[in-house]
Symmetry: C2
Subunit: 335 residues, 2 copies
């Protein structure tokens, strides 16, 4: 697969260099690793609970695009589809620490668990910063409800970051930020479908194989195997399948409100995502579920992978306040 | 190419249906065609110069994603890569008309020229609405400087819409909106590169052919032939070529300021776009050109086409004010 890159070994560093140059008033690099970025706005705000996110590259706008007012304060950027090591996590942590508490948000992957865990230990030992970790596990396809602890984090992390960022921006205590974010994390569910693979710049090889008329239900954001492969179905059929599996996993009743994200994995068009959203709305309104706020677009990608995911998160008054709050990041703003 | 659609004949209508359902507080459908959308905010604002945009579908977020506060007031949505007929243009025009003047913005394509021209005539004859048309011709690859009237409009239309929308939102008279927008249109330049084709849902056939290691410099947003085909070069080499051709076409001197857009055509990743932006910034700073504001992402796509374009627009104080102004559209917001 063709890519517009220079040396494949430096794609992440050159991407970060471009990102910092594009938004010098909003973003700053901190520390020695070159892989820790912070929101300029966060540096000036005393008394603010720190929110640090991170993960592998290749998911842009996640994760580095989501630092800014009302979202995360700092991010650690890993290699493509690889967790960042503890150093950049710790560098971001130190930079945004205001001694009123700190929260890490990351997906449920072995590398992230290990590296954010080590960074958390080091922050405590070396800097007396106590960190609360929120591990996102929204992908219902990745393990049954009886084994929720095994589930992967996918696009739902956008909502979790939004809730934590809004609560922190509002001036909530660390206990309140953790409480609201934990509730959001318990209420969020996602599921995806894969149509075509991506390739890493260093190998150029497709990340998985599907036949010309095949799709994979439940595919992970790094090409992890899904639940089943089968012939490509219509947008409505695929959407129904994803919505059914999500609804089977979460308690939603008549008149409940939800936030919805229909997320593109990279090469799937806005047109397809809106056609899917149309069906999500039909399905939810049939059972009396009200969509409080909608997000449609590429919020968490897998390089140029083809496919999409649907995220549904139940919201109550305080989560609605968080979702509705303004945000101002280089890759996502909300008035 | 695989797509998440239902009936290929109804992809545009289902997309619009999803879009309106996703943002009911921001967007409304008007008229009988089903293809005219307006910003709810525009309907309430008396004394506002109307800004109507439009063009073929498949370029999302352009054009329908760019109606909202600080951007366009109405949009006419055509079939994929096909101009909207006069009716939806006229429907959007009537809906947002406040009797203080109207401006149409569209790309320099035969169909758009004809249909927006007819709508403009009908608006005048039937509704006594006098429309000023701004035809965008930013693609320097599509014709030499001696034949600027033949040039296609591509991603630069985003900046033109931003300028018109900001001027109108500020309360400028129609003469002032037209004057600022015309200046922006004279100062904007773009050029693109294609790596891989897209396909229309109705045919499933690739829109053009390139070999596995080939790129096409100057490719148009609908797959129109570019200047030359050749082996895929590095991101820096490609960026240099696009920047060189743009700089050769526009007068920029030391200490001038510009707005820059590095735009993805669909399946090209944020990573690649930021690597290209990095090089644009290097090149411009070498010659003392200051980037006032940067945009990097999918602002005007060609379905899932692979490739990108670079847009550079010189800005003076009043254009800076327009570019910097807040905007709130479903697919693009700026604080």
């Amino acid at each position: 697969m063709k890519k517009l890159v220079n040396d494949p070994d430096y794609v992440v560093d050159e991407m970060i260099e471009g990102y910092v140059k594009a938004f010098p008033q909003q973003i700053a690099r901190v520390g020695k690793s070159g892989r820790a970025l912070v929101s300029q706005a966060a540096l000036d705000k005393e008394g603010k609970v720190g929110v640090v996110i991170g993960g592998g590259s290749g998911h842009e706008p996640a994760f580095m695009g989501y630092i800014g007012e009302g979202m995360a304060d700092g991010v650690a950027v890993g290699n493509i589809f690889a967790s960042p090591p503890p150093q950049p996590i710790l560098e971001a942590t130190e930079a945004v620490n205001k001694d009123v508490g700190m929260i890490y948000i990351y997906g449920n992957y072995a590398g992230d668990i290990m590296n954010f865990g080590m960074a958390s230990d080091l922050a405590d030992l070396e800097h007396d910063i106590h960190v609360h970790s929120i591990v996102v596990r929204d992908d219902v396809a990745s393990a049954p409800a009886s084994e929720k602890h095994k589930r992967r984090g996918i696009a739902g992390e956008f909502f979790i970051t939004k809730v934590a960022g809004a609560a922190s921006a509002k001036g909530d205590s660390v206990e309140e930020v953790v409480r609201k974010t934990t509730k959001a994390n318990e209420w969020v569910r996602s599921m995806g479908v894969g149509l075509s693979p991506c390739s890493l710049p260093q190998t150029g090889q497709p990340s998985f194989h599907l036949e010309d008329n095949e799709m994979e239900i439940g595919l992970g954001h790094h090409g992890e195997p899904g639940i089943e492969k089968g012939p490509l179905a219509t947008a409505d059929e695929v959407t129904d399948r994803l919505v059914n599996d999500i609804l089977a996993d979460v308690e939603l009743k008549n008149n409940d409100e939800v936030a919805v994200l229909v997320n593109g994995l990279g090469s799937t068009t806005h047109m397809e995502l809106y056609i899917m959203f149309r069906r999500v709305e039909q399905r939810l309104s049939e059972i009396g579920i009200h969509i409080f706020k909608s997000y449609v677009g590429n919020y968490s990608t897998s390089l140029e992978m083809g496919g999409s995911s649907i995220t549904i998160m139940k919201v109550d008054d305080e989560l609605k306040e968080c979702i509705q709050a303004p945000a101002d990041c280089p890759m996502y703003a909300q008035v």
